[in-house]
Amino acid sequence: MNPEDLAKLRDFCRDDAAFEQVKQLLLQKVQPLELAIHQAQFQLEQQKTLFRVISRLREPIDLETIFHATAIEVRQLLKADRVGMFRFYPDSGWDDGEFVSEDVDPAFTSAMAQKVHDHCFGEQFAIHYEQGRIQAVADIHDAGLSDCHIQVLSQFQVRANLVVPLLQGHHLWGLLCIHQCYGPRQWQETEVEFVQQIAEHLGVALYHAELMAELRAEILERQQAEERAQALNQELRQVIIELRAVNKELEAFSYSVSHDLRAPLRSIDGFSQALLEDCSDQLDDSGQDYLRRIRSATQRMGLLIDDLLTLSRVTRSDMHLETVNLSRVASQICMELQQSQPDRQVEFVVQPGLIAQGDVRLMQVLLENLLNNAWKFTSKHPHARIEFGQIDRNESISAYFVRDDGAGFDMAYSDKLFGPFQRLHGIQEFPGNGIGLATVQRIVHRHGGRVWAEGAVEHGATFYFTLAEEEIGA
């Protein structure tokens, strides 16, 4: 009460004793009121500070700025000597950390960026803080703290200490520390509650920061992926351009092979025949035989050129993948083979219902080549069995096979089977140009698949193929 009010009050009283009595009575009533007003003012300030902290969380600012501004405001409001945000090093088991933000009375040293090691904390207390424990110490020398703890606090001249956990989600990220350095301090319940609220809101900021970091990492990853994709795209484009050029050249090449290489052969063959027809009386038997050999060689050359062209066409033609009933295609080919030589005793076994994704035309050529081979290489046997089916194996990609019990081949030469013009049998024994399996291999490769063979001389051959890329390591 101010002296003026007291003077007026004295006037109302009949004597000093009465005045003293009234004064005491009034003081008793006024003091709690003043305290309540003070507390209300403090709460108002708290609310304002909290409001500012929360408002800041809505702004797109970094954690460092949020921490620092909050530290200043909290220190001001609590009239503390230091407010700091302490962060544990990730993976240190809460043994180590440092202050990452701070506002400190200039009379005391900064606690920033000094590594703090406190094994007792990591071992004994971290788990409690993670569950929301707070520590309010009025005087560190009078609270039964462990020596190592006191040592750590003394390092920063701390006398009274209020520590609240900073949680990122459910994870103990760090500590919000309020230090009093001038002397001991009894922390009020409202103050503790206030600091807890601040810590909770900083937890929100931490959570946001974590989300942001994740988002940034994801964005970065996507950008990198996009860049990689673009680079790959660029490379692919280049490869496509090159491939187109090569394809064009190949087309021009096979056109001229098809056209120009055959013309001289026709001349050789034609005039040999003309000689045989017109001048046979001037040629003895061996002369005529030579001419016939010339003719047969040129005709063979013609067939080789045709086969080469077929092979190159298999490589160049456009692919249209669709569902193909391989069993049906194989059955049709088998029927035609049987009709071509009705006298042969061949048992065909075609597993029904084999469906694959492939180019119908190429599938036809593929199975024709394999089944024709089987037909050809069983021709010396009175009875034969030719099989088409799918093999059982524990892989996602189906493998098919064409098996015969014919002449077979020596596995020692199995690597030569698929080379163009490679033959493992004499031309007199089995006719052919050695282009069939090369064609098979190209068709299989164009589908992303694999072809391989097993066989033994006079014990038949089995050709296996897949029509899709197998997983690496499978």
């Binding site: 096979s254 056109y255 098809s258 056209h259 120009d260 055959r262 013309a263 001289p264 052969l265 026709r266 001349s267 063959d269 034609g270 005039f271 040999s272 025949q273 003309a274 027809e277 003719r295 040129t298 005709q299 050359m301 013609g302 045709d306 062209l309």
Partner: protein
Amino acid sequence: MMVSNKIILLVEDNPDDEALAIRALKRHNIGNEIVVAHDGVEALDYLFGTGIYSGRDLNLQPSVILLDLKLPRIDGLEVLRRLREDERTRLLPVVILTTSSEEQDMINSYSLGCNSYVRKPVDFIQFSEAIRQLGMYWLLMNEPPPL
């Protein structure tokens, strides 16, 4: 064999193929007049009475044209295109006789309106047989378009 005075126009730049084709026709007693053009320009000159054939009687057109595709100067497809564009020649029977078995050549030839597409076999006996059948078919069996 009497095949009247029908003319065959053989458009062929390879002298060997020319000789072999003529030999095949002769051996099969197809004694019709065979006019040989050695490239596309000569062929067009003959058909339209220009160049070395200027003043030729255009009432006498070949009953069949055996046309190679790969020719010097103007190629076979271009010859075919110009024939089909011109009122005077658009109905003339044209047989493409070529070494090429490229799908694209066949598509182009038929698109431009050839009447037949025959591939020259390497085997002379087959070639000779093909020529004989062509001669028989286009000179005897086939009714030429009224001109």
